[in-house]
């Protein structure tokens, strides 16, 4: 395996992706998880856009010159819509977080589980205890 | 060495220093300040890049940045809350301490 410096972009993309993944799996706060997902999303977008770049090319908006080199327009199209869809889905996640906070008074995974199942955590009781006060 | 290079290097160095401030913070306002100034630097960097790549008609992009930077700064300031319920002493100490200065209080009411 050779480590070509021309792959620098992809390494950073992987670093970002793993940072996002780590945030999602290791942090208990729901908003922090959404932020982690956003980091992950940006890394995927960065990956696509990096692949679309052509050396010495320019943005895929045609100019008069005959022998102009353009970068690939396809990743741009895919990622452009992905960003807007991403913010719409982020909004759904945040709306859920707001409602969860209204119901449980917290955004911490641990505390929500405790309120739902008691201090012993899920699995200890037979089912959810219904004694939590909303808010 | 063109002026594009000089200006770009200056902007990148300045950005690095602002990043350090945004991470160190001290108060939340320092971060907002750093983010706002960072946005201005990005606007300039984009404008420079448009000229470097020979497509100066993409300046629209710089305009959008300037716009969004302003709006998000205003939003950040509007959503800053007075933190009286922080359960974390360490964070509270970093955010604020002294009572409202009397002069400002007067102006407020």
């Amino acid at each position: 395996m050779t480590l070509d410096p021309g792959l620098y972009n992809y390494w950073i993309v992987i670093l970002l992706m793993m940072t996002g993944l780590y945030t999602v799996i290791s942090r208990g706060n729901l908003v922090k998880k959404v932020i982690g997902l956003n980091v992950f999303q940006v890394s995927v977008i960065m990956f696509y856009v990096s692949m679309g770049k052509v050396e010495g090319g320019m943005a895929p908006i045609l100019v008069e010159e005959a022998e102009a080199v353009y970068s690939n327009p396809l990743p741009s199209v895919l990622m452009l819509t992905a960003i807007v869809v991403g913010v719409a889905t982020t909004a759904v996640a945040l709306a859920l977080a707001v409602r969860i906070h209204e119901a449980y008074g917290t955004l911490e995974e641990d505390e929500i589980l405790e309120k739902e199942y008691g201090a012993a955590g899920p699995g200890a009781a037979d089912g959810p205890v219904d004694d939590h006060e909303p808010g | 060495m063109t002026y594009f290079t000089v200006a770009t290097l200056a902007i990148l160095v300045s950005m690095a220093m602002l990043l350090v401030r945004a991470f160190k913070g001290e108060t939340v306002y320092d971060r907002i300040l750093a983010v706002n100034s960072f946005g201005t630097k990005t606007v300039l960097l984009i404008a420079l890049m448009c000229f470097m790549t020979g497509r100066p008609d993409f300046i629209d992009l710089a305009l959008v940045y300037a716009l969004m930077n302003f709006i998000s700064t205003i939003a950040v300031l509007r959503f800053t809350r007075y933190h009286d319920m922080l359960d974390d002493d360490d964070l509270r100490a970093r955010r604020l301490s002294a009572p409202i200065a009397p002069a400002i209080e007067e102006e407020l009411t």
């Binding site: 396809l74 452009l80 | 984009i46 959008v64």
Partner: protein, 341 residues
């Protein structure tokens, strides 16, 4: 020089991402996310994806940050220490192993900017060469042509997803709040005369700029998605400075909901028109006597539909998030204190 910018900005981006994970003050984390967006948008410009940069700048740095801040304002904004240890070796292990595998995988990839990479030899040359004769010779922006015409069906799907997301958020947050609390964003800066004076001339300019981006999308970077977000940003600025109630004087909840649906209907209508005229769904060639004019008309309609939906959805989302809660006590004074220093 561009390579240097690329390397430095990517390094900044990596540092920023790590900082985001480490910050326990969520408010600060969201602000650093703003920097993250600005940086990535700058990188998209370096990588020639100007349309993506346009979108990321308006969505990531603008609307997304604002929505997160609004969420934090109605919930909590400090991440608590976990009962279990904060540092989780298992998570780190998973991440390191996955990352190593992915880095190993990149060794087979073509290097960055390689013109011979497989991705550049499949559909892209066709789009670049044939946009002038297949779509319209007056649409130099290939991204717009691919987005609205070649891949119009896909974009229709994306627009529907945005519509669905708006409906879901409406279902989640549309009712009254179940607990009593202050409305976020009603901070005391609302009555500030400097902000009002500077925002007042800017709002119409922003709306005008959004229209420019909408209708200039065929020629330069821009289009319905970007224009919609910028239009919404103008309304958001107005709502931030003058209060959501005044912003809703014209764009009431019901009208916005109607607009959300109207955009999708315009898009779908442009598609169905193709069927009615004897072609296929989203076949713009038949919309006018000359196929090139038909394509232009179709792209115009589709972008208009996307713009209306996106603008209405983003504004609705903002109003839903900030409308959660009671007005702050000082908000009643906003109207009267106007004009006082």
């Amino acid at each position: 020089m561009l390579a240097l910018i690329d390397v430095v900005l990517l390094a900044f981006l990596a540092v920023t991402a790590v900082a985001i994970v480490r910050l326990r003050d969520l408010f600060a984390a969201v602000m650093v996310t703003g920097i993250f967006s600005l940086l990535s948008a700058g990188l998209f410009t370096v990588m020639d994806a100007v349309d993506v940069a346009f979108t990321e700048a308006s969505v990531g740095a603008g609307i997304s940050t604002i929505l997160m801040l609004a969420t934090l304002a109605v919930t909590q904004d400090v991440e608590k220490k976990r009962w279990r240890r904060r540092f989780s070796p298992l998570a780190l292990g998973v991440v390191v192993v996955t990352g190593a595998a992915l880095v190993y995988g990149t060794s087979d990839m073509p290097r960055y900017g390689d013109p011979d990479a497989p991705i550049h030899h499949y559909l892209a040359p066709h789009f670049l060469e044939h946009t002038p004769d297949e779509i319209n010779e007056h649409i130099p922006n290939v991204v717009t042509a691919v987005l609205a015409s070649y891949r119009g069906y896909d974009t229709f799907g994306e627009t529907t997803v945005i519509f669905t997301a708006a409906v879901m958020v409406l279902m989640l947050l549309g009712g009254a709040a179940t607990i009593d609390r202050r409305r976020p964003g009603g901070g005391r800066m609302g009555a500030n005369v400097v902000l009002r004076a500077s925002a007042k001339p800017l709002v119409p300019l922003i709306l005008l700029f959004a229209l420019y981006v909408q209708f200039h999308g065929d020629f330069g970077p821009g289009g319905g998605f970007q224009a919609g977000v910028i239009f919404a940003a103008g309304l958001v600025l107005y709502a931030l400075v003058y209060g959501p109630d005044r912003a809703q004087a014209i764009f009431t909840g019901r009208r916005l909901e109607a607009l959300v649906a109207l955009g999708v209907l315009i898009y779908g209508g442009a598609g169905v028109a193709g069927i009615v005229l004897g072609g296929e769904f989203l076949d713009y060639d038949l919309l006018a006597a000359d196929p090139q004019d038909g394509q232009h008309r179709g792209i115009f309609l589709v972008e208009l539909g996307v713009g209306i939906t996106v603008a209405a959805v983003m504004t609705t989302l903002f109003l839903l998030f900030t409308g959660r809660g009671q007005p702050a006590p000082w908000e009643d004074r906003v109207g009267e204190s106007e004009g006082t220093p």
